[in-house]
Symmetry: C2
Subunit: 308 residues, 2 copies
Amino acid sequence: MNDQHITIHAPATVANMVCGFDVLGFAVHEPYDVMDIRFSDRPGITIINKDDYCLPTDPEKNVAGAALLAMLEEIKEPLGFELGICKQIKPGSGVGSSAASAAGAVVAANRLLNDRFPKQDLVRFAMNGEKVASGVKHADNIAPCIYGGVTLIRSIHPLDIVPLQAPPLYVTIVHPQIEVRTADARGILKQQVQLKDAIRQWGNIAGLVAGLLKSDYDLIGRSLEDVLIEPVRSILIPGFDTIKQESKEAGALGGGISGSGPSIFMLSKDETTARTVEQQMQQTYQRLGLDHHTYVTTINNEGVKFTS
Amino acid sequence: MNDQHITIHAPATVANMVCGFDVLGFAVHEPYDVMDIRFSDRPGITIINKDDYCLPTDPEKNVAGAALLAMLEEIKEPLGFELGICKQIKPGSGVGSSAASAAGAVVAANRLLNDRFPKQDLVRFAMNGEKVASGVKHADNIAPCIYGGVTLIRSIHPLDIVPLQAPPLYVTIVHPQIEVRTADARGILKQQVQLKDAIRQWGNIAGLVAGLLKSDYDLIGRSLEDVLIEPVRSILIPGFDTIKQESKEAGALGGGISGSGPSIFMLSKDETTARTVEQQMQQTYQRLGLDHHTYVTTINNEGVKFTS
């Protein structure tokens, strides 16, 4: 048994990137969870909470535990891991809190195993954590958390992940302290959509991917339009329309609901704009009397980061 | 009045590029229409047919005429053009015959006017020709004909055209000699689609755009999947499923219905594969006893070409 000890930062991620519902997500530098892992003499997964969120420590009910169990199942050796989790990404905030735990755990464990598994396998393991968190094995937070940058999940079955290089982008995130359950946000979506709206949506995602790969900020901005999901879901988020309009007037390229909310994100070309957007978000929620938290950060091209 | 005389080749184009229904199209080198234009002493548009298709010579009923009339309306000068058209792209074949006439006419006329209008304006004028041909002002044949290469029409209102660089691609086209009216092909589409299918479609178009811009042939191949339009429209085209399956078995990256059919196109990485695909297409239609015509060509990055 080696006594190696790995510490990582597992970053927040923004899924459902506007027109890229269910398929496009990106990682940011802040906030992030801090996790540490070592081999344990006791086979299986031991979870030690180092924060105040009181998340389950039963591995089958813990997103990080479920991800590690999926990994262990494939290893077929009686290994044990002891995992410490200090969450700084608030659960339920819509910026991939569960994905950070699940992705961080398997990336850290894989390092203990001398990087035995390629990234795609790690995504597959970590998706079991998402299943525990929301009932759905989605990958649009997990994949950018593990690969870094902006990530396309072209397909889930079979899993097909395409990292997309992007030009430098500043990200302003506001998390209004209300609860939007992922299951609820999913439940209000219409299962049938107009073909003409779907066409507009795939014109936009094609434009967004082209804009990212060509570093064409104007094209990115023009393509950041969601005619299908946002009009339905944004009603769950007080102040959404005001924040979006004021952010764009302040020079943001665009943005939308982060994940299934309630956080809202906006992309900007430069830090000054991103900070102005932050101030306006703060003013809007002060006016509405809603507790909130903001971040100004950048796209994180590294994903999970090893700190020791 | 200058006596300049412009001759051009206006290429065939493939619209509705698989998952890029209504938004992605590309130009090919063959077939193409030959057109010549000069100023005329008589104001307005004079059309001279130089082929056997007996298309209308009344400019308002002729796709090239309608495109030029839209241009003249914006010029607000009493100009006259004499336009000769020798069509080699069979009308109704599904490879942008009307678009070639409309786009070729305005590109040629614009050269007489010392390139007064930018390409986007030319697309706008030429779309009036598509209106005459099919009742719909679509741009997914016009734009690649004028810009060349693979073209994304992110939006029609406002018009937003994004040229996408692509790696070298061979194109095999088969035109079975049956008639599929654009209006019929449009009529059988469902106006409502399942959200889950739309998500799969926009995952694929995002993958296709990324594959083209990254010159990733495997990703292009994996993304050439249309779960919404092709399953409905392909029933109008005898032999479609066989041709698609055999083409992929022969090594083609993928393909689908060209425009609204009846032509079928397949993309390949190399000429040998493209020629094998052609032979199999020919065998299929011989077996079915259907007259047909095939082309093996490449993506045309130039669009309308000036020959004098």
